[in-house]
Amino acid sequence: MHGGEGRGTGSGGGTAPAPTVERDFDIGQLTRVEGEGSLRLRLRDGKVVDARLAIFEAPRYFEQLVVGRQPDDVLDIVARICGICPVAYQMSAVHAFEAAFGVTIDPVVRSLRRLLYCGEWIESHALHVTLLHAPDFLGVESGIALAAIDRGAVERGLALKKTGNHIVALLGGRPIHPVSVRVGGFSRAPRVSELAVLKPALDLAVEQSLAMVDWVAAFPTPAYDVEPARLVALKHATDYPMNEGRIVSSDGIDIANTDWSTTFRESQVEGSNALQSHTLDGRPYLVGPASRITLAGEQLHPLAAEALQRTGLAGEIRTNPFRSIVARAIELVHAAAEARDIVGDYRPPAEAHVAWQARPGTGGWATEAPRGLIFHEYRVDERGRVAWARIVPPTSQNQAAIEAALIGFAPGVLELPEPEAHVRIEQLVRSYDPCISCATHFLDVTVEHEPPGPTR
């Protein structure tokens, strides 16, 4: 799938729309998304009748790879599902096991895990805002090209990203696939002096993320008059959702974050081989920054809340996906500010990790990845080893909602010259920050082999 012609266009493609003509509008390979996916819109008489976010990542069978392993090994393995958000996988998994075994962790470990998550949010959001999404708003093809016209903005984004990576590396050894998360806590807790070195960087990061909010809030933003998606996120009494909270939705769902399976389900769809998530009634929903800010906004760090206030875009973040870039910038402020608070108050825990005993049973747990809610569920056998696993990443939960949004949004832009239509549609897809590597641990490329034209 590498090296398409010019911009990312594939087969089919749009000539002027003729009446009663059925055609496909393909974006061969989506770029500036993590992993490899493509998009096909099926049009009949200029109307979008179907949208397929297809994914041609090769299957990697993670649910099977963890079977038979001991919990701590699983933490190392599931991190490899995604190099951009390994912490999210480790966090959902470690809490799922601790739930299954009834492990209570040290409050300091709890805040260190939030700090770790802050690091990943900063790294992931800074990457997406600066290098992946901003180019769409400013009409360039990449962050590299963006540096040519606004080097300062790119350097600011990279500096933020570096701080996020630095946090993860400090707690876990390296920014990608950190090594210290263990059931019961961490393999080793940092010394006060080790964390203290973060303070200046975090002071700067708060300033930089605030500046970034102003930057992205001013971006020219496409109108979006499609019915807003149903939002789902974690909500916690006191903290902005990361590792804890209940699963709530914009239409009244309110369940424990261990109970995802009671209300949501995954299903496989031919053609677009994505496993998609719906509520049991089959309706799509959306997770991610927009959902978190909308549903748990009151737990935002004061600095972030104030920044959100200043933009006056809280409402648009809920209704216009293109504003998700603002939502990410707001969460950057939150993560930087909270990280600074945690580092400031840090006192090492008595023990880096508490002793625990594996016991047979099932444990599920949802946390908030940068891209949204991520749910893990493990059944552990009497040997203390994984017998069965379910891993539900944000992107597969969002896929149905993304496709619905495309069906609603595409007609408005398909009359534009094709290259521009491409940009707009890709821009919309990117605004959900799809992480196809994540979604893909059980997806395949068969869509690529389908003959063009009607399939049924």
Binding site: R7, R32, F442
Partner: protein, 278 residues
């Protein structure tokens, strides 16, 4: 001299190794000043079919079309360099090579027939000639910079194949095997990560794969002498470079054990096929 044309592509992988390039926050812009990034779907919408002066390849080959595509990419690349454990050793997914692939596929998919994937996930070098390898899960930023620097300067990159232990001792770490009885694969694992696991009070789990003359049998005997069971030791090898030749035999023993211990219940037992969309 004209700017080299750089391509970055991926196969079955987590994106972490190509992300490492974007994680070079301090060097990224300096690098892009010196090379033309002509193909890097994760980072740019500009695309090129090549030719590439340097192509960085992430991921392992695990579908039929990937097997064809890598040959084509090799044809278009002056220098093809594999990055990361997936590309150089098959990655964690290569454990399927010793599992019953069909049963796995059946376990994961309600409609296995829709799925096309090879029964093995194999390193790039098993398909085409590779000019250099950057090891690691993920690769080390320092080694990536060193490789790019050496390539731009024209000297031989310094990518040592010695044991993790040397860097561990240079860094003044206390050996976790000797002082805490932690199983550590450092003595048989190639350096590059900066010996970070011992720094976090745990044993090395071989992200960088085997070092030169890795004495796996010797380490195995040693760890068993320290009180681990042979099965526990083998399991240490069933990780991200499990199918690297020096580790494969040992790792396969563990993989086999997992198979036998597996509770026969497919992941998709609660995944219905959605007829609504058919």
């Amino acid at each position: 001299m004209s700017r080299p044309r750089l391509g970055v592509v991926k196969f079955a992988s987590c994106d972490g190794c190509q992300l490492t390039l974007l994680d070079l926050e301090d060097e990224l812009l300096a690098i892009t000043d010196r090379v033309d990034v002509v193909e890097f779907p994760e980072a740019t919408s500009a695309r090129s079919k090549g030719p590439y002066d340097l192509l960085l390849v992430e991921g392992s080959v695990s579908t039929p079309e990937q097997a064809e595509e890598i040959v084509e990419l090799r044809r278009r690349s002056a220098k093809l360099v594999t990055i990361g454990a997936c590309a150089t050793a098959g990655g964690i997914q290569a454990l399927r090579n010793v599992a019953h692939h069909d049963s796995w596929r059946a376990a994961v998919y309600p409609e296995p027939a829709w799925i096309e994937s090879l029964s093995t996930a194999t390193p790039i070098a098993e398909h085409v000639t590779v000019d250099a390898e950057l090891r690691g899960c993920p690769i080390a930023p320092g080694q990536l910079v060193e490789f790019l620097t050496a390539t731009l300067v024209g000297r031989r990159p310094q990518l040592p194949d010695e044991a993790v232990c040397l860097e561990c001792k240079r860094a003044g770490r206390v050996c976790v095997v000797v002082a805490s009885g932690e199983p550590c694969l450092g003595p048989v694992t190639r350096t590059g990560c900066g010996a970070l696991c011992p720094a976090f009070a745990r044993g090395c789990y071989a992200c960088f794969g085997p070092r030169e003359s890795a004495n796996v049998a010797g380490l195995r005997r040693g760890l068993v002498a320290d009180g681990m069971t042979a099965a526990e030791v083998d399991e240490r090898f069933a990780g991200f470079t499990a199918m690297a030749p020096a580790f494969a035999a040992t790792a396969s023993k563990a993989a086999a054990a997992y198979r036998e211990g597996t509770v026969a219940e497919p992941t998709t037992d609660r995944v219905e096929v959605d007829d609504a969309r058919r």
